[in-house]
Subunit: 149 residues, 2 copies
DNA sequence: ATACACTAGTTGCTAATGCAACAAAAAAAG
DNA sequence: CTTTTTTTGTTGCATTAGCAACTAGTGTAT
């Protein structure tokens, strides 16, 4: 018995390997274009769509699937680059908001074309419309279940 | 324009977020069971199914989607744990094989039940049979394309 | 009110990863 | 052949991530 005989295990293997390969390609394309890595994009995007362009640190950590300490450091880097700033939460003196700056929004907008091209070229291009629907539905279910725990 | 409006971009977002969450869960379950991390499993599995239980370093790096330097260090750790050993390649004096040991095979077999349960619980359980087929087909296409480059 | 438990965020530490540079060998070009 | 280019694997270095421990503030129970 060597593991991975079941059809779900084969799907899993395809899932993680495709992920690793495509991320590797896209990260390289961003780096080659002189742009920040994907982790930065995730933070900037979450802040972009958040009300008031701000999120509490723990909300942001959860949104981008990072440990609290990992997020502290990531936000440090983004703050040093002036792409966001920390602001105290008047309603809870323990916590702070991460607030998107205009410069942060601008950087996200400069990243998006490169990122979008990578997604299309290495991912979207190879999927039929029907497959996209199935994939989205299935993975959102997986995602929802994993978030609940 | 905030990015991620197209249906393929939504699918991509679900893809990477589901990946991050499920991997996080499974890594924790392995750690809680006192077992090595997923990266070790990948190496042990590739060697298990390779002819002669051996692969050249660069083949292994490609198989587990890791940089050459990353693989050098990962193999260092596995070799220190006696789960594999390096052997020179008589046909090419630059290179070496990574060869699975019996102990390495045994450790992989001890990891598999925990890993399999994680895959089922956090991934497979939420997918219908039809979805599994679509997912596998689609992702294998993505994977093949990314490998070609 | 006071004690107790929990949550938020940061820090020190360690582990893991990629890039660039390197040495050695092989392969290709001439 | 001899020279040049490429491949293979390792190393130094810098970056990034998580865990455990800590501080500070909040919430809850008695």
């Amino acid at each position: 018995m060597v593991g991975l005989e079941g059809s779900r295990d084969v799907a899993w293997r395809a899932f993680i390997t495709a992920h690793a390969l495509v991320i590797e390609r896209i990260e390289r394309e961003l780096a080659d274009a002189g742009l920040p890595p994907l982790g930065w994009y995730d933070v900037l995007l979450e802040l972009s769509v958040a009300p008031g362009r701000r999120l509490r640190m723990h909300e942001l950590a959860r949104a981008v699937v990072l440990s609290r300490s990992g997020l502290t450091r990531l936000v440090d880097r983004l703050e040093r680059a002036s792409l966001l700033r920390r602001e105290p939460d008047p309603a809870d003196r323990r916590g702070s908001f991460a607030v998107l700056t205009d410069e942060g929004a601008a950087v996200r907008e400069r990243m998006w074309p490169v990122y979008a091209r990578g997604i299309a070229e290495h991912f979207g291009k190879h999927l039929g419309d029907e497959e996209v629907e199935v994939l989205t539905g299935a993975l959102k279910r997986v995602l929802g279940a994993a978030r609940e725990v």
